[in-house]
Symmetry: C2
Subunit: 693 residues, 2 copies
Amino acid sequence: MHRLIPRLATIAFALLFVLTPAALRADEGMWTFDHPPLEAMQNAYGFTPSIEWRMHVMHSCVNFGGGSGAFVSADGLVLTNHHVALNQLQKMSSAEHDYQHDGFFAHTHAEEMPCPDLELKVLQSLSDITADVQAAIDPKAPPVQQNVQRKAAIAKLQAAASKRTGLKMEPVTLYQGGEEWLYGYRTYKDVRLVCAPEEREAFFGGDLDNFSYPRHDLDFAFFRVYENGAPLHSTDFLAWSLSGPKANDLAIVVGHPGRTNRQRTVTQLEYERDVQRPLAIRLQEQRVDALHTFAQQGAEQARQASGLLRGLENNLKRERGFLELLRDPAYLAAYAARERTLRATVAADPKLAAYSDAWTHLDTVQPLNRTFGRSRQLHEFGRVSRLADIATGIVRMTAEMAKPNEQRFREYQDSNLNTQRFQLLSPAPIHADLEEMLLAQRFQTWVDSLHADDDFAKVSLSGADAKSAAHALFAGTALMDVSARKALLDGGAAAVAASKDPMIVWARAIDAPYRAERKRFEDEIESVETLEGARIARARFALSGHDLYPDATGTLRLSYGRNAGYAQLNSTVPWHTTFYGLFNRANGFDFQSPYDLPKRMRAAEKSIDLSTSLDFVNTCDIIGGNSGSPVIDRDGRYVGLVFDGNIQSFLWTFGYSDAQARCVNVDSRAILMVLRKVYDMQSLADELTAAAK
Amino acid sequence: MHRLIPRLATIAFALLFVLTPAALRADEGMWTFDHPPLEAMQNAYGFTPSIEWRMHVMHSCVNFGGGSGAFVSADGLVLTNHHVALNQLQKMSSAEHDYQHDGFFAHTHAEEMPCPDLELKVLQSLSDITADVQAAIDPKAPPVQQNVQRKAAIAKLQAAASKRTGLKMEPVTLYQGGEEWLYGYRTYKDVRLVCAPEEREAFFGGDLDNFSYPRHDLDFAFFRVYENGAPLHSTDFLAWSLSGPKANDLAIVVGHPGRTNRQRTVTQLEYERDVQRPLAIRLQEQRVDALHTFAQQGAEQARQASGLLRGLENNLKRERGFLELLRDPAYLAAYAARERTLRATVAADPKLAAYSDAWTHLDTVQPLNRTFGRSRQLHEFGRVSRLADIATGIVRMTAEMAKPNEQRFREYQDSNLNTQRFQLLSPAPIHADLEEMLLAQRFQTWVDSLHADDDFAKVSLSGADAKSAAHALFAGTALMDVSARKALLDGGAAAVAASKDPMIVWARAIDAPYRAERKRFEDEIESVETLEGARIARARFALSGHDLYPDATGTLRLSYGRNAGYAQLNSTVPWHTTFYGLFNRANGFDFQSPYDLPKRMRAAEKSIDLSTSLDFVNTCDIIGGNSGSPVIDRDGRYVGLVFDGNIQSFLWTFGYSDAQARCVNVDSRAILMVLRKVYDMQSLADELTAAAK
């Protein structure tokens, strides 16, 4: 009954699909840095980003692992979202100091607070290894074999490139398997928190206003990257814009969009609609309910649950939006019509007709996804409990280390070991009561939703009930202590095999079913999806040249568009909001939570210029993972901070339309003003404006 | 493709219909003053309006003829909307003084400006004459005869009551014919303009923001009623509230809702959907286009067209919303289900089964509506040209005066003659070029859309083209001069018959086809609709007791509800806005029209309290005609001024739901503040607060 996404938006979107089955829409695309849409940008905005422009921007942008950011000073200052920083804020906080809620303000370098386990990456190189990988694959071998050959070739190339460059090399598969790349990163592990506003200011309106627009959030946080104990000095940063964005100006967003499904097949979307997304929603709803119950136990429990709750509620709103779209018959019909057109074109072209069975082959995987894929989704327990993740991580890592590099799981290949240790040995606090409750809940779900002799459930419960089983793990483990983890990692497979720590015993027991399931997935699903996806990509390349962009993969992308409002309901939404709007909304709800403006902002009202631009929207093509991306103007200046898409932008998972979907950003002028007038962060403001243009 | 009304709203509404086919929703109803929902109000809000409370409020409320208002001081001060005052503002303005655009501010009684033709009415008495009318009808006579008997009985009772009370008596048919009433009014014709803000302030956001919410309009205007050349002194006025409305408080709206269709049959709605509303929209669109063209000729033409344009664009948005609803299959299905339930209940009840053919009888009229009704709708030329209305008015009135009172058209019966003369002899300026252009357009529509030998077209054109025909009427007429009209009225039928004025010649020629068409409508459509509507009403009374309210009829009604925001899209709309919001929106659109805040308001920014409540919403059940109604709290204080419904309230034409539909009002605190701080109207503000509570 409740419709998240305005009908107008979905209908306009479906029509676009029908009317223009192939051509790109204006401002469409999340482009890789090797291959930006120079001609389209020039035609639409009279601007071509030079190679120098692009390299500078690439080296100025920061990967937060699921989020984005950018350097904004010569001294390693990095700007991202408060909600990207949230995980670290929560880990740095305690019952005594709640930085998530109260904010954090370092006035000197000495006051900057080290993050427990934040690794930042900055992209340095991109290498296309498609030809080399293809050369290592025997196209006549069965898919399972081809996939093994493919992975081994990538691992070998990766190790060699890593050795040659000293960079952290990560393989990236683009175009559903159509291209294979290696991305080389500099990584930074000494990252310190500089400044974060109060959560209520960063996330004004809370979940109620989440994904809405007009919006009034100051969703920012500053970190500083240190190298050898001192701030990182570099010229690779974006100069701050004092004048901010303008209506209808070109806007460029550079960041790390996580995942889009624009080139999935209809049957893949139907699987998502019928199985994957409903199950994901159910699992998340369970956790949200449990966390709310946990939070009601007291103030400290509420604090411990709050970060997780915020993330889950954010995700749930998005997942529900996706599902609503997938269940809209008009929408899926338009998507299907576009696929039919492509298949007919391929079939009718003698040079491409050989590819025309790729869709049929992909379809054959879907029945397996609906049964085996469902169990596999239920079995996933990553991020339910960080301690459980650490235990299974120690067991897996020590086992994988015993193998040659190329035969290991990708995440345990040499270039990742450093990162893995960093995470496993993180000193960040673990809230055992909360994690035990969530793990018990997941065990219970296995009992309730899986076959009676399910391996995951059997080895986890061993005849006990879910609560007792989870309690036994947490009550007896020593892994809360980082040194215990270190001893196991240093002791390797032998130490792990000898351990009687109940959490390790459990992790050992679940390792075999985990590996069996993962192998089956790689052999029977991933192999087909990658190989057939690559064939479709080849057909698309043949038809469109290379005038395409790949689905999002969490790697660096460039989007472009214009700062512009839109029609909504029977009125018009302006391209930007001001601090008048912030106070209007707080007053409109009589300062009731989540509109209880923090006292620092209320106190500053008379000394700030309320007409200062606060948030603004543009047509840049983004998706989750772009949070924290800079909005850059044609002069390379930092004019805004991406923090959200409006609700209509959920469509962008499946395709682009600029009818109502918008990228939502904080104005650079707003950040500078509140640093000076609300938070008394003069030195930070001075640092930003030192090289301002 | 464009959807005005959010899908959620229509779906929630349809579900309400299905789930509760008969029961009233909370806060539903536009109640007559003889019959307010005392028990429901007491149960929901712990308040019962006493008889004294009701009489005081009834005597304090003012009928503006299509709009509403209320006395707000002991010296005859009346508050209504700027858009209700618009017609008078336009008539008072000239090329030199554009009060519509610039506002009007009288600082002394001497500066108050007489309105050219504004008659206000205040309800004094209500008499149920149903039994007397029924007694005069022979139920065995054919419908045509019954309708004639009915009308004659009403006219007779009306004349007698008029004579007895000295009041202006107006018959009111309620419940589709189920009840007949006489409403007695005091009338006032010496009404003077006291204060109106700039149009851009009263209608901030223009047509773009019309029917939207959150809203930031100061849609008010003050008049003063004079009697014998002095301000009317009375204790019948609403005391001003200094504290204004509160969230969730009981709100009572008293005004004159114009027309709802909540008890129409499905086939009547289908006629509206297929014929009546599309045609109304087409005719209005034509006029809007023509007016825009006219306005482009120059500043003075733009000024002349502006009031009409604003009214038409307002209407068009509403009509399109109604049509969209009627075309929503889910909505009409729910409406039909409700009707089926009622019909089945009636058929199954031995005492009521005799009524069960009423719907079938009503259905028989619809084919005629689709043919004859369509031509009749096309023939309507009232309000296309005021001069043409005056000419036809003079012809009709002089002819009707020759008949006995009871046999005249209702509008020319004795108690209406005073009002008719007042309008026909209005000195308000007539923009002949504009009116000629619009009348020519209507003539052309007759040529284009009607049968070749259509009487209206034939007598109007007499072989000429539409433009020439209209030009001949305006070029040769003397009716621009009020004394020429007076001479004809005074000379009566003989003078009219002898007149060679081309406008009168035309009005004489069109009189016969007009009368023939009106008679056919009364005999073949109105008679059936009233008699069968009355039978359905009797069945509903038998089923529900008298726990019902009649569809709106432009007469005084009481609605009640609570001040409350609502969920919209994926967020929440607050129950009220503030002046922060006004400045936020102006800044958000960079002060571009229609967000170009007038300079008086911009200049006052620093001296006003921006957190002052500006507009607010409540769940009171209103419809067009309620504009200008007071919002009254339980202590009888004036807390707000109704000026709009949000777009979701378009649903209320067909039924009530409080899911998203809201009545939109100006806060009493906002009006008082701008009088003092923006418009320097201290004496007016003092007058308001003299008896404030």
